[in-house]
Subunit: 237 residues, 4 copies
């Protein structure tokens, strides 16, 4: 069969990808129905919390003692450098919406966000770091929909400038390139059955866990509408 | 206020605990409605997959470089030794139900199970290991319901001997002791605001993530009823 | 050939063991020549610094993701618990000699002591944790000489009570048992060629590195006699 | 006082640096006295063994959970990428001298080399990763002597082309830039007392441990002259 592994895997996760687009939060943000800007803020707060780890667990893909593939190593580190500071875009957008940077930084992520992050650290440091490419497969493969999301959000919330929605805008641009890169890297570095199973596990697991993150965001939005604080603070010292 | 922190926290997570008991799988297993024994098998397969890590991430609670509390260290290691091999009970029960040990061992856990495990490794090795006590707070605090679950499952599935349901039976016994131990350890070792916040985060996060595991088990049960294989195999090599 | 691997390895490291006994510090402590009690203090300070890690890197022998040998795991954790607080004996002996506990705790170990400790952490977390048994092979195999050392030190420095020399006295007792245990564990757990090579590498490497620690202690003693402070402080804040 | 911390530290380690240049191996390689080319081979074998880890433990400087300095992170990763494959130069030079690449790759490093490597992994993953700059301070600060070493080695061993001595030649070039970079990074990133103490500890410790590596190389050279195999093989399987 001539289909590449990366393409077969993209097909395999397509149903989960559709389920992701069908979560309450994406439907609310994309539809014509009115929705509170708090939902966008919640999305950005949690995005800050998981994105701040992306560079770090990407860099830790070199943890494995027996690492011998130098091209993989270089690629992981190069990609890690690119990921540094993406979380800052979310912080900046939130600041423009009136949320204090320091409050967001010390807020407690939703449990689902913590599970998502924990899984990625666990996988690269204790399982097979090559698998992390499965996360990039879907997370950076949004070029088809990224630009549409940006337009929609601007229109919906009366946002004039891409700079006020920089987290989404930057990804829409970057992911034009990253999506193909991710697939190329999968076909280049995931060659053993063990590596391929690792990529597959990470692709399906992170996508499924991210759907839980998205649903938890919406649950939190409903709590916020009932009066719960949007920024989840730690216990008072 | 004289309420102990461990008790205040137990109260705080009570609503999540009730939601756990109200998941489709617990209702199906506890109610009078007929249900396929596959549901019990699925529960045990995933339990094997998360329980096999319990001793290891408990032992890794000594990872932190600046560890100076020797009593905490001893307690973590002592508890870790107790947890070794609990997963084997699940494997043995599954064997008695006709599932091959080797097939279960090499099966792929549900994504939610992997997120649950990943979070715990992540927390003890990269965040605050004292927080892991928050997992014990609810996971080993089932003394009120453990014995009832064992009776119910035996009755429901026509199981004669506790040895065929050893995973549940052993926990029902152990947890009589562990529940109080967990609360005592929390009040003994979680004394700084940072430690307490860590325990709280782990308690709510692991309980929430475990609810997702339970719901995913039931989703998988429904897939199995539609013909999906109960044991999820890795990609063929 | 019927010789056990543990015994063949003990024979292989015998020349290094003899070199250890022939270091300037052991000769100075064991001979009839007068020597300053500072030398004993330096020995105890560095012993504190390496011994405080023994329980921790023993516990971290369970780090390896693919750990499946539960007996090895239990044994590592059981041994780790036994090692907790051995460093406190060195601190206590130093206190009786007039060195403040807090000053010793925050002192900077000799470079060689740091290399010794670093190698052990590195090996158990990144290489093959079974190899750590090679450290126990010689470090806890001193039953032949332990009691003699205690008598000699008491006589030489006019120490009346074993309680004032508890670090040495405790090891002399414990090691009667631990030496045989270490050899038994090597023959029980180091069965693959990779495991045996790991045990051999750790045995020879740690013994060689410890000889450097011993020589560095004596170098430091000579500096102290020239006026250098015995307790090496960190930079002032 | 207006002296920069990096300069004060360079002055502090100057005596150790002089001791390094005064080791038997450097004296033998730099003097007019004849010496076997085996000594150069031994130097390159051990250099391969420690250099192959340089990129990895540099990358792992991002391990620390609480990492918030993004500039430090980017700089560590950028430097790590530069270090990838430097070990290959040593392998290539050895190949030109007739030593099989595969044999060198699977050879057992000298104990001192393992201690040196272990300390660096230990420090970045368990202590303070900023400290690793102290290693760069002296290891990449050889611009004053690098070119002289290359000329001397070519002359001494009748080497015509820099390509046959690429490990040294590449460092001589790179270190023209890296030495100043290391000092700049120290003054930029080591600003707290804890960070500065970490840099100081790593600078003095790695330099001292490297002197032991150099002396062990010469000891091994003497063994080789007595008939010991230059390439230290693992136990036969």
């Amino acid at each position: 069969m001539s289909q590449k592994f990366s393409e077969a895997l993209r097909d395999e996760i397509a149903p989960l990808w559709m389920r992701m687009l069908n979560t309450r939060i994406y439907r609310a943000l994309m539809s014509d129905d009115p929705v509170g800007k708090e939902l966008l803020a919640i999305y950005l707060v949690e995005s800050y919390h998981y994105a701040k780890h992306n560079a770090q667990h990407q860099a830790l893909a070199v943890w494995r003692a027996e690492l011998t593939n130098r091209d993989f190593m270089r690629e992981a580190l190069r990609h890690a450098i690119e990921e540094v500071d993406h979380d800052q875009l979310a912080l900046r957008d939130l600041e423009k919406m009136g949320y204090l940077r320091a409050a967001v930084e010390r807020s407690v992520p939703l449990p689902e966000t913590q599970g998502f992050t924990g899984f990625l650290y666990h996988w690269v440091t204790r399982e097979n770091p090559v698998g992390r490419l499965g996360y990039s497969l879907w997370a950076e493969g949004t070029q088809e929909i990224g630009p549409g999301i940006v337009s929609r959000l601007k229109e919906k919330f009366g946002i004039k400038d891409n700079k006020e929605i920089s987290f989404f805008a930057a990804h829409a641009v970057l992911d034009m390139r990253h999506g193909q890169e991710a697939r190329d890297n999968i076909d280049r570095f995931a060659v053993t059955p063990d590596d391929r199973q690792a990529v597959r596990t990470v692709a399906t697991t992170t996508l499924k866990l991210f759907i839980h993150v998205l649903e938890a965001m919406y649950d939190h939005y409903e709590d916020v509408k009932q009066g719960a604080p949007l920024i989840r603070s730690p216990l008072p010292a």
